[in-house]
Amino acid sequence: MSEGENEIAVHIGDVVKVYGSGDSAHTALHGINLDIRHNEFFTLLGPSGCGKTTLLRMIAGFESVTEGEISLYGQNLATSPPNRRPVNTVFQQYALFPHMTVAKNVAFGLKMKGHGEAETRARVDEMLRLVQLDRFAERRPSQLSGGQQQRVALARALAPSPKLLLLDEPLSALDLKLRQAMRLELKQIQRDAGITFIFVTHDQEEALTMSDRIAVMSEGALQQVGDSRDIYEAPVNRFVADFIGETNLPEVVIERYEGDHAVCRLGDGSELHCSVSEGAAAAGERGHLSIRPERLSFTAAGEEGSIRCVIDRTIYVGTDTQYAVHLGDGSELVVRVQNEAGEELPWSAGDEVGLRLATGAARLLSD
């Protein structure tokens, strides 16, 4: 079987999950369709309760599939219990066996699969070197720091060479610095191991920095699937635009469509050209734009093509400064301007200035 770059590793077809039955039935997933490619770092991103962990647990086999199918390299997984699936999981709280040493934790899956003593030992050593914990082989999990425990969990899940690795918010228990370091490390390990990763997180920054592709989920449904750039630059709807990064979501009236662009009128009457996401409202109706704060900049008030506004507050946030402004009709926007070294802030609260949009900054969303 050739496992080329574009081969489908995991196929999720019309998967529905219903908890309970009768009146108390609760639908956690509404018909999910997803194809995850071989060797891909794929992220399920969404707020808590969106169904991302449920989907992950269904792939692992801990939850039954109410409807639909999940297959791994063409093989239907529906009937196999978790211990018969060539899929391993890195659990959120690591779930390391507290009564075993690090080496025994990593060896567990190999022993259960029936690998011999020598083979197991060699593979354990290899895995511990991969996660740089070879010196800690004889320690107990309780003697390790959170980041080290996390790496043991990773080594344990990778050791039996699964065809697919599932990671359930594995970084959420770590502090910020460590989390950032682990992101790069995880990505590197995924490339080295050559295994498809499905990563679940509610942290959009984590998703954007590590993933080859991201599926944004909300309320048991997929909102958008794409690479980091797609998701950030071309959100398909209000939920995605709002959830990923910071954005302004002003309400507008759609004046007319010109080719693949639309002309929309802001509350203060100024007109904007914007790109259009699929399913946006028709001309004449109301809709929402997404304008990223960093795509806005200031110029002198009244300059050609700029929108007149007044600065209400400025917040210094290190790399850049955040300005809260309001337009002629009182609608509010946030602008982010990168700070230059050693310069005083060029604008301050109360100034009347012109607002300029970078090309393609505004996007008309579907609701």
């Binding site: 692992a60 801990f62 978790p82 018969r84 659990f91 066996f97 567990f108």
Partner: protein, 327 residues
């Protein structure tokens, strides 16, 4: 001397570790010696009770076991080790020679066997029960625990008599089996070793369930998922993941069942019909019928030694387990 003028505020510098709930190491170092006075005052009543009602009676029994029995009970103040010798040997009435007699050793062996069987039976029944309760939704667990402890609200003697009523030849179990034609005549259940074992299991089951429940309640069930995910079957998970982690609860429960079973008096007396003597009955007999207080005392001291040895053995094992888990 209390330099701080007897202030009642005990300096508390207990830092709770965010994950483990362990106290920081500084706590014990920082607590000033002076405050020990208050702490001693707090546990003096308990010390007094234990000293008075445990150490002194045991001391009395230890001393009695080295004395000569009085004719109508009581003791004659004359030192002898005959009581202990009597345990293993028999003195010939005419020649005064000591010959080996295994009867008492037999009673101890049988008691240990009986207690071990009761402990294992309690474990086989108690572990699934505790597991069941620990996997209920938290709001229902209290009710289940309450149900397990209900029998405790009735006097042990009454409960044991009730068991006898159930097991006797004309009892409900035999009548039921005969009515349904399973058996022709009653099976002998009462006054057997089975009856004693049944009585012991019934009496001490909650002592097994509660500590195991306490361990399982703290057990992180995602460990089971981790095992399942790593290709282990259900029995392997139970053996390699669950049991080792909840072992302290299993050991505690087993000791809590084994120790009282070993010295139990009511169950063998009532359910065994006093035919197969157990340690408890043997001791009671020496103080009631036989009027041989020193021998009764010696038998009690031997039982105490056995129990302490068992405790010591488990304590060492537990400590060994802990030590290896930290180093």
């Amino acid at each position: 001397m209390d330099d701080n003028g007897g202030a009642f505020i005990v300096p508390v510098d207990v830092r709770i570790d965010r994950r483990g709930g362990k106290m920081s190491e500084q706590t014990s170092l920082r607590a000033p010696r002076l405050w020990n006075w208050h702490r001693i005052a707090l546990f003096l009543p308990a010390m007094g009770l234990i000293g008075f009602f445990l150490i002194i009676p045991i001391g009395v029994i230890a001393i009695y076991s080295f004395l000569v029995p009085g004719v109508y009970g009581g003791v004659v103040w004359e030192f002898t080790t005959n009581a202990y010798r009597q345990f293993l040997f028999e003195q010939d009435l005419f020649t005064d020679e000591w010959a080996f007699n295994g009867a008492y050793l037999n009673i101890y062996g049988r008691s240990i066997g009986q207690a071990a069987v009761a402990t294992i039976a309690c474990l086989l029944v108690g572990f699934p029960t505790a597991y069941f309760i620990a996997t209920r939704p938290p709001e229902n667990r209290t009710i289940w625990l309450f149900l397990v402890t209900i029998p405790y609200w009735v006097n042990l003697l009454i409960r044991t008599l009730a068991v006898l009523f159930l097991l006797r030849d004309q009892g409900p179990i035999n009548s039921f089996l005969m009515d349904w034609g399973v058996i022709e005549k009653p099976i002998r259940l009462a006054y057997t070793n089975f009856a004693i074992g049944f009585g012991l299991v019934y009496s001490y089951l909650p002592f097994m369930v509660l500590p195991i429940y306490a361990s399982l309640e703290r057990f992180d069930f995602s460990l089971m998922e981790a095992g399942y995910d790593l290709y282990a079957g259900r029995w392997t998970i139970l053996r390699k993941v669950v049991l080792p982690v909840v072992a302290p609860g299993v050991v505690a429960g087993s000791l809590l069942v084994f120790i009282p079973s070993l010295g139990s008096f009511i169950a063998p007396d009532i359910l065994g019909g006093g035919r197969n003597l157990m340690i408890g009955n043997l001791i009671a007999l020496q103080f009631q019928g036989s009027r041989n207080w020193p021998f009764g005392s010696a038998a009690a001291m031997i039982l105490l030694t056995l129990v302490l040895l068992a405790l010591f053995f488990f304590a060492r094992r537990q400590q060994g387990g802990l030590a290896s888990s930290h180093g």
